[in-house]
């Protein structure tokens, strides 16, 4: 009732009134347009990347986009408060899915992270990230002091540790690491004492050292060593980065044209439809293509941050921050990796890389953020 009484109380509230009536003007169109354009560009680049592969990935990617759009609308239509109130069962379902993968999952590329439903294969670790974020937002939203208390911090870490552990058990170390930027973003916004922040930075370094010496598989250690010294492995990871850099650079300003990239079409680029999709874009569309896609990612992230700033409750803010942090991390890491600024690891580029589960996740994230923004004036 309040929005209506508010609109009566003063004429300067007119925009709010329009918003409160749930009109389409209330949808954050910039976010949606960026997402759809990026997915569209992705389809074009996947078509080119798989032109000389034995499998044409375009139809499946198009299907993933269609399913993603549907999932986006579905999650948009659900009030995020309902999701928050169901956060525990949702989290439990995420854990159950991840456990199921360990029991009956498929192995692909060294990691056992696929579930099969008839002809469909999907990777629950992607969706599980979103499901975990909802519970995290709720746990952190309940705190009303300036800083998150030690007990709550422990609870947050425990909530993240369970899915991360399961994903590590699937031998998908990269997938597990992707939980960290999401949690870090949420914690920073929720407020963490400076000394804990310091402690976390130190322990991150220690953990990295420990992981390096004990937990990494030989091929993973190889990749990092190669990153530090690209000349040492012309057959493996060094080859990959080198070819990718040649692809990006040879695109120059205007690119070589659709399906005209020699690096892509002559199969120099490995994983060119997935993790290295951005090199295909850079080669065939040049710096113009790169700048356009950066602009769209920037728009998406900028609009996302706006939503966070304007959301009406802590849980909404935190949820958007977590989702946008994870998204931004993927964008930054992938684009840096492709030109050899960071070690090669399986971090796909949102909306562009081939992969149904990840496409679905990104559209669901979009739907959730749009939904949170849409309901910013509705009251409990």
């Amino acid at each position: 009732m309040r929005p209506i009484s508010r609109s009566i109380s003063g004429s300067f509230r007119l925009p709010d009134e329009r918003a409160s009536l749930h009109t389409l003007a209330n949808v954050r169109w910039g976010l949606l347009v960026a997402a759809v354009l990026l997915a569209g560009i992705g389809l074009v680049v996947v078509a080119s990347a798989s032109a000389t592969m034995h499998v044409n990935y375009l139809p499946r990617q198009a299907l993933a986009v269609a399913l993603g759009l549907m999932a986006m609308m579905l999650i948009f239509s659900v009030d995020y408060q309902v999701l928050l109130s169901l956060s525990l069962p949702i989290y439990a379902a995420a854990i159950a899915l991840l456990a199921l993968v360990l029991l009956v999952g498929h192995r692909a590329g060294g990691a056992q992270s696929w579930l099969s439903l008839g002809p469909l294969h999907f990777q629950p670790s992607e969706i599980a990230k979103l499901m975990t974020a909802i519970l995290l937002a709720r746990v952190l939203a309940d705190a009303d002091q300036r800083y998150v208390g030690a007990r709550r911090l422990a609870l947050v870490l425990a909530v993240v540790a369970v899915p991360m552990f399961l994903v590590v058990m699937e031998r998908d170390l990269g997938g597990a690491v992707m939980y960290l930027p999401m949690v870090a973003g949420m914690l920073l916004v929720a407020g963490v004492r400076p000394r804990i922040r310091f402690l976390a930075s130190v322990s991150l370094v220690v953990v990295c050292a420990l992981v390096w010496s004990f937990a990494l598989l030989p091929y993973q250690r190889d990749r990092i060593a190669t990153f530090l010294n690209p000349g040492r492995d012309p057959l493996g990871a060094g080859y990959q980065v080198r070819q990718s850099k040649i692809a990006v650079g040879s695109g120059e300003l205007t690119g070589r044209g659709f399906m005209r990239g020699t690096q892509s079409q002559l199969r120099f680029l490995p994983a060119r439809h997935t993790d290295f999709i951005f090199s295909v874009l850079a080669e065939e569309w040049g710096f113009l293509g790169v700048a356009t896609v950066f602009g769209l990612f920037g728009l998406f992230i900028f609009k996302g941050v706006q939503v966070a700033l304007r959301a009406r409750d802590r849980a909404g803010i935190l949820l958007v921050v977590g989702l946008i942090s994870g998204f931004a991390f993927h964008v930054l890491y992938n684009t840096a990796m492709v030109i050899g600024l960071l070690p090669v690891t399986g971090v796909p580029l949102p909306f562009l890389s081939y992969g149904g589960s990840f496409m679905l996740l990104n559209f669901m994230v979009t739907g959730l953020i749009l939904g949170i923004d849409f309901r910013r004036y509705v009251n409990r």
Binding site: H54, V55, A108, P234, Q243, V248, G251, I301, T335, I339
Partner: protein, 579 residues
């Protein structure tokens, strides 16, 4: 946080600007000169030998011609040159090129496969005038004995999309993998592991300098248990027929021959097949791709009486000397069942019942045993489940019982069906290989062997069935009588070699009146069986012969077994009196 993100994105964008703008020309130059190329070193697929070391499968080099249109001065001139060398028309080559017209012109396209050495030489000699052509060499699988080992060995086919995805990167797109037979079952061992070379190539695509190399691991070669001579003879004897032959060592389970007819030539699969070739194989009414020895299950007919006899003795339902009167027919459950010999066999004991294959004796025995006991011994002797030979197309057959009837047919087992099953008819289905395992167990004194085709380490240990000599000896002596005492298997008798066996004639359609088989259309004629072993005293070889729609086992199957024993035991056929 938003600001941090914006800063990082700007930094990245500037880096891209630098790489693509300032350094772009350097990279474009590198791309144009295709400096580094990763060239796979294909692992040589393992060879396959027979037990004596005769080569069955080898690899031969095959040359294909590729055209890189981006290096072309004049496409028409290239096509004309290629047509001249390949002895074909330019329009035919244009059609081949049209297939790949949507590929970028710098992606080489396949023009022809299977070039002769002479053609390769002529093209290489013109390399300066025609730099647009590339000769690609790969290994072609050659099955030396073609159709004679086709089902046993299988063939190679291009990897499917599904296999590619589930192989976890072990398979490359376009790679050939084993299909059926030994090639499929032992694919991972035969294939080996591909290596890779990173080479710097010049603008003509010729390697200049090697940067690194990971050598290929060749596939393991296999030695089979197969006796090539016996295998070839078996295939020869089946020429023009449909059927299967299994020969195995009853003591170890080693398979000496595994033949199925009609057959196909696996060498045609080594190259890309065109649609009409595929269809002629797939639509062949004889179904040549099917392995009748392990893949298709049939009614065993009277051969199954061996199982019923073992069951009767082991369960104590009959003693060897007990007699039953055969008057040519007998009523069970209100229905008249006939013996194949219309005038009747008179008083029959087990020995005579096996020798003359008296149906009435086994109807009566089957009724006394009941279906559950029959099924128990059928399974004990290896029927109703896969033998474990380790070939991908093997099927389990069917041993029916009351439970099966309820679960699958949703109606109770009819007692009358037991009478039919007792002489190997009814829903019962067996593969020729299963009957060979059954025969081996009777021959070797009660051990169920697991058949195997690759000589590699000790054979799988036989399973003792705990059947005493008092059970097996009377059956064995009956089987000797079948061949050597003027029984139904007399046409398998060999002077100087005591063969034991049992004939079978499995009805394809239920017949109201007995029609002579030769008067029936071929696809309604009975299936002919002969299961056997030799020498009777110390068995060294089991032979099962199955001839689809062959008529009587005594006439159509037994003589084939005889020929094979003579081949295996090196008995000179010419010295024998004509039969």
């Amino acid at each position: 946080m938003g600001i941090a993100c914006a800063v990082l994105m700007t930094v990245l964008l500037v880096t891209y600007w630098y790489v693509q703008g300032a350094e772009g020309e350097i990279y474009r130059d590198m791309a144009d000169h295709n400096r580094l190329r990763k060239v796979p070193i294909e692992a040589t697929r393992g060879l396959i030998y027979d037990r004596k070391g005769d080569l069955l499968v080898e690899n031969v080099p095959s040359y294909s011609l590729l055209l890189d249109r981006s290096r072309d001065r004049s496409l028409a001139a290239s096509v004309e040159f290629a047509a001249r060398v390949l002895d074909t028309t330019t329009s035919a080559l244009d059609a081949v090129l049209a297939r790949d017209h949507d590929k970028p012109d710098f992606v080489p396209v396949l023009l022809a496969e299977g070039l002769t050495l002479g053609q390769v030489a002529r093209i290489s000699a013109q390399a300066l005038e025609h730099p647009e052509f590339e000769i690609h060499v790969d290994q072609l699988r050659l099955y030396r004995h073609g159709p004679q080992t086709a089902h046993l060995l299988g063939y190679l086919g291009e990897v499917s999309e599904g296999e590619l995805r589930s192989s976890h990167g072990e398979l490359r797109a376009g790679e050939l993998v084993g299909r059926k037979g030994v090639e499929e079952e032992f694919d991972s061992e035969l294939r080996g592991r591909d290596g890779v070379r990173v080479v710097e190539v010049d603008s003509r695509g010729r390697p200049r300098k090697e940067f690194g190399r990971l050598p290929a691991t060749p596939g393991r070669s296999l030695r089979l248990t197969i006796d090539l001579e016996l295998q070839q003879e078996a295939e020869r004897l089946l020429t023009g027929k449909a059927g299967a032959i299994v020969a195995l060592d009853p003591n170890s389970g080693a398979v000496l021959a595994l033949a199925s007819a009609p057959s196909f030539n696996p060498n045609v699969f080594a190259r890309r097949l065109d649609q009409s070739q595929w269809e002629s194989i797939l639509k062949d009414p004889g179904h040549p791709l099917e392995d009748r020895a392990i893949q298709d299950a049939y009614s065993p007919g009277s051969v199954f009486k061996i199982v019923v006899a073992v069951a009767g003795l082991a369960e104590g339902v009959i003693r060897p000397q007990d007699t039953i009167h055969c008057s040519g027919s007998k009523v069970f459950y209100d229905r008249r069942f006939r013996c194949w010999w219309p005038s009747g066999h008179g008083w029959v004991n087990l020995h005579k019942a096996l020798r003359e294959s008296c149906d009435i004796y086994f109807y009566t025995l089957g009724q006394k045993l009941g279906i559950e006991n029959i099924a128990k011994y059928a399974r004990l002797l290896g029927l109703g489940k896969k033998t474990g030979i380790g070939l991908p197309t093997e099927r389990p057959g069917l041993v029916p019982d009351e439970n099966w009837s309820e679960m699958v047919r949703h109606h109770p087992w009819y007692p009358g069906e037991t009478i039919s099953v007792a002489i190997g008819q009814g829903p019962l289905l067996v593969t020729p290989l299963q009957l060979a395992v059954m025969m081996a167990a009777v021959a070797n004194g009660g051990y169920r062997v697991t058949p195997y085709v690759v000589l590699d380490g000790p054979p799988p240990p036989p399973v003792p069935l705990h059947l005493p000599a008092s059970v097996l000896a009377p059956v064995q002596s009956g089987l000797v009588a079948v061949v050597n005492e003027n029984g139904t298997g007399v046409r398998a008798a060999i002077p100087g070699l005591e063969v034991a066996g049992k004939t079978g004639t499995a009805q394809v359609v239920a017949q109201k009146t007995r029609t002579l088989n030769k008067d029936l259309p071929e696809d309604l004629r009975d299936h002919a069986w002969f299961v056997s072993y030799a020498p009777a005293e110390h068995p060294r070889l089991v032979i099962v012969v199955f001839v689809e729609h062959g008529g009587h086992g005594a006439d159509a199957a037994a003589p084939i077994a005889k020929d094979l024993y003579e081949t295996y035991f090196k008995i000179d056929k010419r010295k024998l009196p004509a039969t």
